[in-house]
């Protein structure tokens, strides 16, 4: 019974159809109907994903909840879905963050509310599709289709410079993904199938692998974003409405690193190994240099955006450090590195989402994102200050919060490879603390800066709900990350045992 239910299809099409209903259904006049309809859809999706989590078998590695239907016969493209320990937590995260965005934008959007909510619901479904697709062209379809709602959300509800930001966002990511398409077509030809897992079994020579590596790198590095193709992110974040920033930071950035895990590492492991040092250097630049850039920001959203880039640097570091570890037979450390990267992805989803929501709370009241316009907020909004403190600490990687776990695992793993890599990565924990807490100090503490701050009201009920949910997540995964690690464990082991082996010859490949 449970096996027969197309859970993944439901997780994709339930929010999409709910979104279409909201878009064309009640219209602008029935605001309440729109809101509740969106909430019910998002809630149902989330509940479904949590229920699926309880059914998910994390004891050994295999692709679960598979669905496979013929879609486009003449092109041999199939509608095939399935999840493993890498993609499934991300689907749950997506469903949760979509729900949170729906709650958080309850009364905040002053015009064309139904379109706004519909955009997020449709995008939520499409993002689930990205993580669930096991046919590479289906993956690409979701990957591109998801850009359109985000483009409209930033462009319609964004800040003053929104048009520049949203065009830059769309063009940057599209530029990346066209190369992905070329690579997928080539691999589809080689494997005689567009199935991602049959691509994992291909034998490819090193030169071709390197070309494919760069095609993947352009596509995914733009999305992560890695230095130096990160410049779209601060623009997009600053101009996007709060919900847009939350989804962008919490989910969309993860797609880049998910692409690394799903495509780059397993399909071109030899090129990845050859380029591992290059990638590690890029990651360290992101962690260190972008951390310094964040320190200099005057705009809160920009600061968190740069801090996102720095934190995503840990993810790519954790993934690419594993090659040296596998080579040196430190398999446990390699597992640790990849697990650290995955945990960091999930935890950064909560933390960055929460920080953008906090900034959104302030922005709704004062209509400014400049740090200089604030000061002494703790006097008028003590509860808000408490939550903001928690998330700021988590962003700085305080032990006990989820931000600590991933970074700690990655640093430990990199210590096995090279002391200096670990040292540089570790140093940035100080940087992260510096820019986050300095911002916190300037915004929250001190004398009440101006009349606007003096007239601030503390959190509303729905803001409380959102903050409490995220706070629980940050603390639970900080104090007890074991469930998350267990879900991923078999997939990580499979990745290391079967996928990171050389693809230059068929020897040693798992069948």
């Amino acid at each position: 019974m449970i096996e027969k239910l197309p859970i993944l299809s439901l997780l994709i099409w339930l929010p999409v159809s709910g979104g279409l209903l909201v878009l064309f259904g009640p219209g602008q006049k029935h605001k309440n109907v729109t809101q509740w309809l969106s909430l019910i859809t998002a809630l149902a999706t989330f509940v479904l994903s949590v229920w699926a989590l309880s059914v998910f078998d994390s004891s050994r590695y295999f692709i679960q909840f598979t669905e496979d239907r013929s879609w486009i016969e003449s092109l041999d493209i199939r509608y095939s879905l399935g999840v493993d320990g890498f993609s499934f937590p991300l689907i749950v995260l997506t469903s949760l963050m979509t729900l949170i965005v729906v709650i958080a934008s309850w009364n905040n959007i002053k015009f064309r509310m139904s379109h706004y909510l519909a955009g997020f619901l449709i995008m939520g479904g499409l993002m689930n599709g990205v993580f669930a697709a096991t046919d590479s062209i289906l993956f690409y379809v979701f990957w591109e289709a998801m850009l359109v709602p985000m483009f409209l959300i930033i462009g319609i509800w964004g800040g003053p410079n929104r048009i520049y930001a949203t065009l830059k966002f769309f063009l940057y990511t599209f530029l990346g993904s066209v190369f992905l398409l070329i690579a997928l077509i080539y691999l589809g030809k080689q494997a005689a199938s567009f199935d991602i897992f049959s691509m994992h079994q291909l034998v490819i020579d090193l030169d071709t692998q390197k070309l494919l590596f760069f095609a993947f790198l352009i596509a995914f590095a733009v999305k992560v974003p890695m230095w130096p193709v990160h410049t779209w992110l601060p623009d997009a974040h600053v101009q996007a409405p709060t919900g847009g920033s939350v989804i962008l930071a919490a989910i969309m950035l993860k797609m880049g690193t998910y692409g690394f895990v799903r495509f780059m590492l397993p399909i071109v492991p030899d090129a990845s190994m050859a380029m591992a040092n290059f990638m590690i250097v890029l990651s360290l630049i992101a962690i260190g240099y972008i951390g310094l850039v964040a320190l200099a920001q005057k705009d809160m959203k920009k600061l968190v955006a740069y801090s996102s880039i720095a934190h995503m640097g840990f993810v790519s570091l954790g993934l690419f450090i594993s090659f040296s570890l596998v080579e040196g037979k430190h398999l446990d450390a390699a597992i640790m590195g990849i697990q650290g990267a995955m945990v960091q992805m999930i935890s950064h989803g909560f933390i960055s989402g929460a920080l953008f929501l906090c900034i959104g709370v302030l922005y709704d009241r004062v209509h400014s994102r400049e740090i200089a316009d604030y000061g002494g907020v703790v006097n008028t909004m003590p509860r808000f200050a408490m939550f903001f403190m928690l998330f700021a600490m988590a962003n700085a990687g305080l032990p006990g919060t989820s931000g600590f776990v991933g970074e700690f695992l990655v640093i430990i793993a990199s210590l096995k490879v090279n002391f200096w890599i670990a040292a540089v990565a570790g140093l940035t924990l100080i940087l992260a603390a510096a820019y986050t807490l300095w911002m916190y100090k300037r915004v929250i503490f001190g004398e009440i800066a101006n009349d606007k701050v003096a007239s601030l009201q503390d959190l509303l009920v729905r803001e409380h709900i959102v903050m409490i949910v995220l706070a629980i997540m940050v603390l639970v995964f900080g104090l007890y990350p074991a469930p998350l690690l267990e879900i991923m464990q078999p997939s990580v082991e499979h990745l290391i045992d079967c996928n990171l082996v050389s693809k230059l010859s068929p020897e040693g490949m798992c069948s």
Partner: protein, 479 residues
């Protein structure tokens, strides 16, 4: 049976000719200013043609009339596409010409004559038949544009189109005469038989160059594209919608007959020429379109770019790649029809819509149409899951399979440039801040037609197989 006078093969053409004569006479006796009866009869005859054509699907290939006429799956599928898209285009046209000096029975008649010309083009098995079809099409189009004779712009376009079209036909004819001189035949199958047994000679290659130039002219591919934006811009919008979409499908048929069927032995010669023309078109079309502020000109330059992508499908020279190119051109016709449909939609009674800034506020005051037009733009840019993505995917797939990886990368990189100007249109519709509702058409049938056209782009995007399998069957790849 090459010499048989098998009239059953040209039932559709005979029917259309009779229908034309009847409609012409009926139109003479009409007092109705809106020419409702003429319109109904025109659409009805297109519908009958569609049914006749549909019956011919999967009929065996036959050649008749001393080898001048061919009836095969390719011709049938192309004709079906021609009827369907003309059918939609006439709905657009009716709403547009109603309040202009264009509302005359001749509009429908000339359109039908053009359709007849295209049917002859795709079914011609000799240089002569194809040329006759082409001229029937071109002359009808010149006259169509010139219908609006009190408009300076339209008259200028008509003359320009006439001169340029004449020049292109001249090139084509010159090439054909050289080939005739070399092979002693104008029947396509005999020409190809001749080259299969005889050495390739210089004079044939010389003729081939002229034929390729003539084709490139007709398609408006760079460097023979200069006429295209002016004519798309100057013609009345409903006629632009027609000439930008349907004749391209017929020209594809002509290209296959001339280059593939007659000059199959020369593939390495012409595919190289086509490759250069195609890449230039993709590059120039996309880059120049960036600077356009007039939607008609923007779509015209985008048409040049699309022709480039389409021609890239012909380059690999396999049947599978031709069917991908065919898929592309049919889908493109559907998309560009919707694109010029926007122009018609935004033109009210007397006011001609031109600039993309006129779209401002559409997303705010008419969100449904804003959304639909965004679908058109995004589909043209080739973003999945809309229909425009799939033929692009197929074109690139065949390029890569056949080893044209670098070419594929260049072409796909320019599609990023293309995305920018399509997004500009969406930007004006949704992001511009305005409190003024843009003027839109009041015609209900146009509203329905354009919604259906745009919904088709979504539906076919979700089920891309529905058109593609016909394209594959046209080249015998599936039965």
């Amino acid at each position: 049976m090459n010499d048989s006078m098998n009239f059953s093969l040209i039932t559709s053409e005979i029917f259309l000719l009779i229908a034309l004569c009847v409609i012409m006479i009926v139109d003479l006796f009409q007092r109705d200013k809106e020419r409702k009866l003429t319109f109904t009869l025109t659409q009805l005859s297109l519908f009958v043609l569609f049914v006749l054509g549909f019956n011919d699907l999967n009929a065996p290939k036959e050649i008749a009339f001393n080898g001048h006429w061919i009836a095969d799956q390719l011709a049938v599928v192309l004709k079906l596409a021609i009827y369907t898209i003309t059918f939609i285009a006439l709905f657009y046209a009716r709403a547009f010409i109603n309040h202009r000096s264009l509302m005359r029975g001749e509009y429908y008649l000339l359109t039908l004559f053009a359709v007849l010309g295209m049917m002859i083009m795709v079914s011609g098995n000799s240089f002569l038949t194809i040329y006759l079809g082409l001229e029937l099409l071109s002359l009808s189009l010149y006259a169509l544009i010139a219908l609006q004779r009190d408009s300076k712009l339209a008259s200028e376009s008509a003359v320009k189109y006439f001169v340029m079209g004449g020049l292109a036909s001249g090139f084509l004819l010159y090439g054909i005469s050289l080939v005739y001189g070399a092979t002693g035949s104008i029947i396509i199958s005999s020409v190809s038989d001749y080259y299969a047994t005889n050495q390739v000679n210089l004079i044939s290659q010389f003729g081939l160059v002229f034929i390729v130039i003539g084709l490139a002219f007709k398609f408006g591919a760079v460097p023979f594209h200069m006429w295209l934006p002016d004519i798309y811009h100057g013609s009345p919008s409903s006629i632009t919608a027609f000439i930008a979409s349907v004749p391209k499908i017929a020209a594809f048929g002509m290209l296959i007959r001339l280059l593939v069927e007659a000059f199959g032995q020369f593939i390495s010669d012409w595919s190289e020429m086509i490759l250069i023309v195609a890449l230039l078109s993709v590059a120039f079309g996309n880059v120049i379109a960036l600077a356009q502020r007039n939607l008609k000109r923007l779509l015209a330059y985008s048409a040049i770019a699309h022709v480039g992508y389409f021609l890239l499908g012909v380059v690999p020279g396999t049947d599978a790649s031709y069917s991908a190119a065919m898929y592309y051109i049919i889908v493109y016709a559907l998309m560009t029809l919707a694109g010029f449909g926007i122009v018609i939609f935004m033109s009210t009674d007397k006011n001609e819509y031109q600039q993309i800034t006129d779209l401002q506020g559409l997303g705010k005051y008419h969100p449904w149409y804003g959304l639909m037009f965004s679908v058109v733009m995004v589909s043209m840019a080739g973003i999945p899951p809309f229909i425009g993505f799939w033929p692009k995917l197929e074109i690139f797939r065949h390029l890569i399979i056949n080893g044209f990886v670098l070419e594929a990368i260049i072409a796909i990189a320019f599609s990023v440039v293309g995305l920018f100007y399509y997004l500009q249109v969406i930007k004006e519709m949704f992001f511009a801040e305005t409190n003024e509702s843009p003027a839109i058409t009041s015609s209900r049938s146009l509203k329905i037609a354009i919604s259906i056209n745009c919904l088709l782009l979504i539906m076919l995007g979700i089920m891309p197989d529905s058109i593609y399998q016909y394209c594959l069957s046209a080249f015998g790849l599936i039965s």
